[in-house]
């Protein structure tokens, strides 16, 4: 009898040894901050970290914040444009094309498209900043003038061109996610279907439209959903390239606004409370969508689960 209890205690001890380190870290620095964000959002905390409760005042302030509507619009515009043009659109295009041409060549192109994602963000931003400078010696304007066109002021006081740059900067990184998933999906279509369709008389485009795309329904939905959340909450590249400008919030998105409110001197910074409230909205959306993914795409995650067999 005693042995059984002792065995159970030992077992529990080992289990703890295995789980506790990870769980402690995740709890303290992941789960707890989720709740904390909500709580801080109910205060008007500053860098002195005082818990001064203002409850829902921050949220009311969002409605009267003169920049909020513009930033909200920016955010939605940014998310859906980048998704349609790059993270989804270009990703699909690249994976379809590289799958229909010579495999080795296709693999090289896909490898190039992975470069933006793996390059450290500040280096990547550096390249874009240099390429989009106003001088005719900068890369893009150099090409334009070489073609006989006039140089463009890519980033400065030139909407919607600066938006184009912001979308492209994020898009070239974002496209590789969809590209990988779509490519995997395409390669998993049994060869016989492709052969049968070719014999039936399908041209390349008909093959894509009637056979490949219909068989890719789930990956298409997954990428669209996943990337939407990703774009909604990302701001690193915008921060590095335009910092929400030029001028007042022309390319500012919601997540970046929260960051500026909290940490930037110029935006009347140090307002952790208001910033947290802004973040809470994103956190809530993030939680809801993550749960939805988990429910809907559980099996898809299992499929994507890496199985590296040598």
């Amino acid at each position: 009898m005693l042995n059984v209890i002792k065995f159970k205690r030992i077992r529990r001890a080992y289990l703890a040894a295995f789980l506790v380190p990870s769980m402690a870290v995740i709890f303290l620095f992941f789960l707890f901050p989720v709740v904390l964000t909500l709580l801080i959002g109910l205060t008007d905390m500053t860098f002195s970290f005082e818990w001064h409760w203002v409850y829902l005042d921050n949220y009311f302030q969002m409605f009267s914040d003169r920049w909020a509507p513009k930033i909200l619009f920016n955010t939605l515009f940014y998310v859906f444009s980048t998704l349609a043009l790059f993270n989804f659109g270009t990703a699909l295009l690249i994976s379809l094309i590289t799958n229909h041409i010579n495999e080795k060549v296709g693999a090289v192109f896909r490898a190039i498209w992975l470069l933006p994602r793996i390059t450290p963000s500040t280096v990547y931003a550096l390249m874009w900043l240099w390429a989009t400078r106003d001088e005719p010696t900068a890369l893009f304007n150099w090409i334009l003038t070489g073609l006989g066109l006039k140089p463009v002021r890519w980033l400065w006081y030139n909407p919607p061109i600066n938006w184009l740059v912001v979308i492209a900067v994020n898009g070239f990184v974002g496209a590789s996610f969809g590209m990988i998933i779509f490519t995997a999906a395409l390669k998993s279509i049994p060869e016989d279907y492709i052969r049968a369709a070719k014999v039936d008389g399908a041209s390349g485009w008909q093959l894509v439209r009637y056979v490949e795309l219909p068989l890719m329904k789930w990956p298409l939905m997954f990428v669209a959903a996943y990337q939407t959340l990703s774009l909604l909450t990302s701001y690193e590249y915008i921060f590095l390239v335009t910092n929400g400008g030029p001028g007042l919030y022309t390319t500012e998105v919601w997540a970046l606004y929260s960051y500026h409110i909290a940490f930037s001197q110029y935006a009347g910074g140090g307002r952790l409370g208001y910033g947290a409230a802004l973040s809470t909205i994103l956190v809530a959306i993030g939680l809801i969508m993550s749960v939805i993914y988990w429910k809907l795409f559980r099996f898809r995650e299992l499929m994507i689960e890496p199985k590296i067999e040598d």
Partner: protein
């Protein structure tokens, strides 16, 4: 009538095939060009004094001279405006390697337990991990800022380390769990029968069988730590703790005024090279992880 097979048909088919290949390749090249050109530009700038578009005015290696002692000189000032390059590189490496190692350790411990043990709340834990790994961690920046300050880990690399590990762990655990699921019970059983306790069996027998997974998580963690920017920006205030991401950002913002673009390019290239090399050699690991993971954007 039934003229199915004619030379005319053949010619048409040939033309059609050429045209479609032309269109496909054109689109592909047009889309991919910007990337290629920009990387070319960066590399060329590192070995030139000034670039006109993609053409160097003069090829030179003087941009690389600062590597003699690591100090980036600012013309017109006597002092060292920027932290020493080697110090920054070391910080970056230190952060990256500890992130990788810590992630491997914690993820393989937890992944093993979830894979092997049945306990109350196991499926809930699994669900939590799945939900967390698609959750965008950077929304928690303010709360993390608060926590680090409270614990006294603000302005330390350890703070950044723990935050990175915490946010990467759900993915790492998921990966390791997957690997452990694929290891058969037999070798463990024989180890346990031979007298090992659970931890010893895990260390001596099970871990070696999931070497690929360990490598994958290590590499992923290393690269994640190496490229980190936002957390370093927000949680570090002393220059002596800067990582290369901060240095490159500083050089970018202030170049042409203080530092030549050539030097900036060198710093950027050196920062980027390890990642590209890793990528080339460890491709299969990385690709799979990026799919499941928070490659962020």
């Amino acid at each position: 009538m039934d003229e199915w097979y004619s030379l005319r048909k053949l010619k048409l088919a040939r033309i059609k095939r050429f045209l479609s290949a032309f269109v496909l390749y054109s689109i592909l090249i047009l889309l991919t060009m910007p990337i290629v050109l920009m990387y070319l530009m960066l590399f060329l700038q590192s070995i030139s004094d000034e670039l006109i578009g993609l053409i160097p005015r003069r090829l030179t290696l003087e941009n690389w001279y600062f590597l003699a002692n690591g100090y980036i000189k600012v013309p017109g000032t006597a002092g060292t405006y920027y932290p020493n390059f080697y110090l920054v590189a070391f910080n970056t490496f230190l952060l990256a390697i500890t992130v990788g190692c810590l992630e491997v350790l914690l993820a393989s411990l937890a992944g093993y337990a979830i894979s092997r043990y049945k306990f109350k709340g196991r499926s809930q834990l699994l669900a939590l991990i799945l939900i967390l790994h698609s959750f965008p961690g950077i929304t928690l920046l303010i709360a993390l800022f608060y926590v680090l300050n409270m614990i006294g880990l603000y302005d330390t690399l350890i703070g950044v380390l723990i935050v990175k590990v915490a946010l990467d762990l759900p993915l790492g655990i998921w990966i390791m769990k997957g690997f452990f699921d694929g290891v058969s019970w037999d070798i463990e059983m024989s180890a346990l029968v031979d007298g090992c306790n659970r931890l010893q069996a895990w260390w001596k027998v099970v871990l070696p069988s999931v070497r690929n997974g360990l490598m994958a998580v290590l590499i992923f963690g290393f690269l994640s730590g190496w490229s980190e920017f936002i957390y370093v920006l927000t949680f570090i205030s002393s220059q002596k703790y800067w990582t290369l991401s901060m240095l490159v950002k500083a050089l970018t913002s202030e170049e042409f005024v203080y530092v030549s673009p050539g030097v900036t390019a060198v710093a950027a290239v050196l920062y980027m090279i390890p990642v590209v090399l890793f990528f080339l050699f460890a491709q299969k690991y990385l690709l799979r992880i990026q799919i499941a993971g928070k490659g962020a954007l």
